[in-house]
Symmetry: D2
Subunit: 348 residues, 4 copies
């Protein structure tokens, strides 16, 4: 009954095996091997576009480098208040971009509200030097609330970013989960909607450590090589990332894993909905389920071995919880078993 | 005949297998698992001291964070002119330490000359604000020239650092190769000689990606957790590093691999010495061999499939090369086969 | 009828004359002259304490260096939402402190609410590496709303800062205005209440360009010399700052100028209160008066030559403005004439 | 007999008086006043080009912002080894440009050797990510050795910079002294030779504090507004800089002051040349004279009240000094009196 986070799982066997298969022999280092090239080519096919791919160590690195590549002095980045860059990265985005500021935008269910985004950007008129200048917009897909922006919602955000000539970044730590949730192509969910740069995460969906920064605008690629190296994010034996991605992408394994994780989340959500004592905080779109439980029930579940996190109650939900209730996050992954879900539901 | 670099090799089977063995099941993320703890404990035993261990993605990250933890405004770091931090890290040490400066110190065979180090530090009197202030000393063990500081040489450097109240960092990207070359204990080569912080590298010696920053002074550990996270170097599934180190350290595999690499370098060096047409630039102490070849011979060898790098000729060697000769670096690793060495020597 | 800002005024004649008086002759540069020493000594007397004084070019520099001296990786600074550091310094505090984050705290009338401050600090538990770590608290005296923290209010903030071992900075761009408003001594308003570092502003109160960073904790002084120089804030001919401060402090000129500015603000406030068509948004404590006017009246006043700024309406005031009303800020200074105030009130 | 530095002098009376003349009345702040505009227009006329002018607090600020505006990740700046940016700015250039590196280029008499510059730039091939990438070239006019680049020499440096697509910065802390030495126009010595950005110094030549960053390429101006503000270098009462420059430039005062300082240096040099006991280290072109004196003579002079600095002996001069001789720097300024020079020569 481990629902703490999708990064508590290990690696999928196919990925682990491919790593072992590539352990022998010599290949050139620092991202220049044939295997690196092959994976980049595969990603270009998947995204139906010539793209630039940069393997990095963590999702935080991908996000921070994406913002660093958009850097402007006195720069301001617009993101949802609950975005990972804003609450979980210990100032890495600010550090990588030399002190740029994150300006939180509110919006329900973890999604930036387009109208509020527009208003927030307008707080920084381009010629008013004291307040700083807009620099980038970043959205998270799937969101930190386990919801997924629709294509139209992405397009609305992109349209605002474009009208202010701001690049649009997508934090895709759970990219695959969002993709299969919408049932669209990677191109449709990204550059065809106006996304300029993507953090493409594999770690949470069955890899050990496989994150890639993807640039849809190749003119940024030259400097990104230096940004990544300067950030100490260029692996010498980079084939160990490439080998993970090779297996991850082969035969659409990545989509299958995400479908499984989402299905487990749905199973969990349906069980919760049917339960007398607990209820969903909102309907999950991907692999994170937010539930409202009596605190005593949550405590009992934890005692029985369930692992999951307490979650801060968003303002718009505050009224709907009773005194003795709390909000809790349950995350499923490629490794979640239906039995685990059912055991949790039984105990719930 | 691949002697390009020790990071062209893949991973040792024992390490690869242990990764696979740990691929299943759930463990807590971000460096908090039992396996992380176990590896840290093992390293404390190996170093005969309570230490703080921080896994990071690259040697550059370990070096840069080590210097960042010593950061002072207007800070100056003293290193050998050919040190990796000075020539191969694209400004990462400066970036991580907010613009600190590297002040190169000369010295033969890749080792800082203690007298010159003292003179260089004295160029920055502590109260002369215009020049900046000394901040740290860093040495590389084994050096970029394939030589190894003796314990007395380390102690001499450390003594100067201490007299100026500067922390001493050791870049141990090839720590194991140096250790078995000196045939001493890890403690003897580090904190017992005055080293305060160590970049402990596993990647070049048979791991996929296993680098650790080791603090001998625990008072620095609190801030290092934040420095590492802010640098986007905290892995979520950090057990994939821990599993590598577990196998690496088990049964002294790491020392065996380093002994093998060094032995291959000696075999290469002895063959070169015995050759009529080529000669050693200097005697190797670890797993890097620097040879002087006729350029035509080097070209022929490359045509025959040998892979190795041209190397810039240091000033003190300039006189001893003929017009038609060049300096070349050959690196051996855990994966180097005696047959490969012999094939190269035959072709040489 | 210029009420745009106190920095629209020039320099007081006594200050201008003293600059001229010191224009001749040679003195040592970079803050080492006898005049520099004399001013520092005078400030130590005024603050009844051995202090370290650093002249800098702007209030933004003083604030940013103060925060830089408290720097921690992943650091979070707590300030009022409307604080100058948060809204008017174009990311300088973040730049100087390598990406530290400002965490806004709400509170009425421009003052941080102590309870909210405590709650906001608690959002960053010291060992939770993802969110960053608390690093400093900064308050503005007088505030951006023209109000003044009482000694008890400063003490309450300081007590919270101390309980979390955070240094407390005071942005004293309008220090003198606050001081004469409270009618207390500089020591009572600063270190005796727990303030550790002060931006002591002279520019807005009759100097050309005279800002000093004052450290009450001398252990921070060594590094501040390097922080200031590295920030390009060490003047060569620093006597041109010292000469301004010499005249500013002589015979309590600074207090007289502040008393005058505050008196002009009171005159303005009383006139507004007595007016039929306009009203005070709140009672001013120092030299900034916030008034609610019909937008048509404001437009007319501007047409008649009055200069003053529109001001964003704070949330807690939103309900008390009519559709056709706006909030406006009027700032008085040492140079404001009673006739100017009366002319404005007549036109109002 | 004060020859310590030109920044030991105060302000010229005409400049001091103009400051006083502008002390009254209200003008808009932060560089937006009519006087600011007037000075910018005057500078555009003087440089025969539409330029962007940014007042800053110090020469270090001008230099550092110039380099910051050329910033590239892993960037390398090429300068003379003895350049102010390299030895006297406490890491400010590195701090402002987020860790860019200064790569020293040797050359006689304080001037970068064009051939060595070319060789040094070639050490950083554009696609070799490990070493960093070239980012800018900066030269100092007049140099730190009191010499002046000829127009042809500037052009040679500019031509190399352009061939590598690098912007060329000129540190003109002693711009006027160089200009009158060459007897050319400001345009001829800068943008007509390929200079892209200029630190235009007034402080050393009779102002209190008047430094301007001048951009010849207006496309950089937008971001420079934010770079300057973020660096805490935007003065509120910026008319106090503008007023200094107004007087400085009026009636070619600036050129007269520089001519005087240079004439005093020539007088000093001629006297030294004629002396039996002392000699010139090299011929001065501007207002700094480097002399070789017996150490006993230097000590005696200092005892008699002369103030001047010992200077490190450059490598190429090392052989020409006797055991008991030292190198000394004597700086003249607008304020130097002929009597002072003669008194020194008599005592010499």
């Amino acid at each position: 009954m481990i629902f703490a986070s999708d990064n508590w799982a290990g690696a999928h066997p196919a990925i682990s095996e491919n790593l072992a298969a590539h352990a022998h022999g010599y290949v050139s280092a620092y991202g220049t091997s044939d295997l690196d090239r092959k994976v980049e080519k595969r990603l270009s096919e998947i995204f139906e576009k010539d793209i630039a791919v940069f393997f990095v160590a963590t999702g935080t690195a991908a996000n921070s480098l994406a913002l660093a590549s958009a850097n402007r002095p006195g720069g301001v980045v617009f993101c949802h208040r609950a975005a990972h860059v804003n609450v979980d990265e210990c100032g890495a985005p600010e550090f990588f971009s030399h002190g740029a500021r994150l300006s939180p935008v509110d919006g329900e269910l973890g999604k930036m509200d387009a109208t509020r985004l527009e208003a927030e950007i307008r707080r920084f008129p381009p010629e008013f030097v004291h307040g700083g200048q807009p620099m980038a917009v970043t959205l998270t897909q799937a969101t930190e609330s386990g919801t997924v922006y629709s294509l139209a919602e992405i397009e609305a955000i992109a349209s605002i970013a474009k009208s202010h000539r701001l690049p649009l970044h997508m934090d895709g730590a759970r990219f695959a989960n969002a993709l299969v949730s919408l049932d669209v192509t990677p191109a449709e969910m990204t550059w065809k909607r106006g996304v300029d740069v993507l953090s493409f995460g594999g770690t949470k969906n069955g890899c050990w450590c496989a994150e890639a920064l993807i640039l849809f605008d190749l003119s940024q690629a030259h400097d990104m090589h230096f940004l990544r190296k300067r950030a100490a994010q260029l692996f010498s034996k980079s084939r160990f990332i490439a080998a993970q991605f090779e297996a991850y992408l082969a035969g659409d394994l990545w989509l299958d894993l995400a479908r499984h994780a989402n299905a487990m989340a749905r199973r969990l959500a349906e069980g919760i909905s049917a339960s007398a004592e607990s209820r969903l905080a909102w309907t999950p779109d991907a692999n994170e389920v937010f539930v409202i439980l009596k605190r005593s029930v949550a405590a009992r579940l934890k005692q029985q071995g369930a692992v999951f996190h307490d979650w801060p109650v968003p303002h718009d939900l505050a009224g709907s919880l009773a005194e003795d209730e709390g909000l809790y996050r349950l995350v499923t992954s490629f490794a979640t078993q239906a039995e685990d879900v059912d055991q949790f539901l039984d105990a719930c």
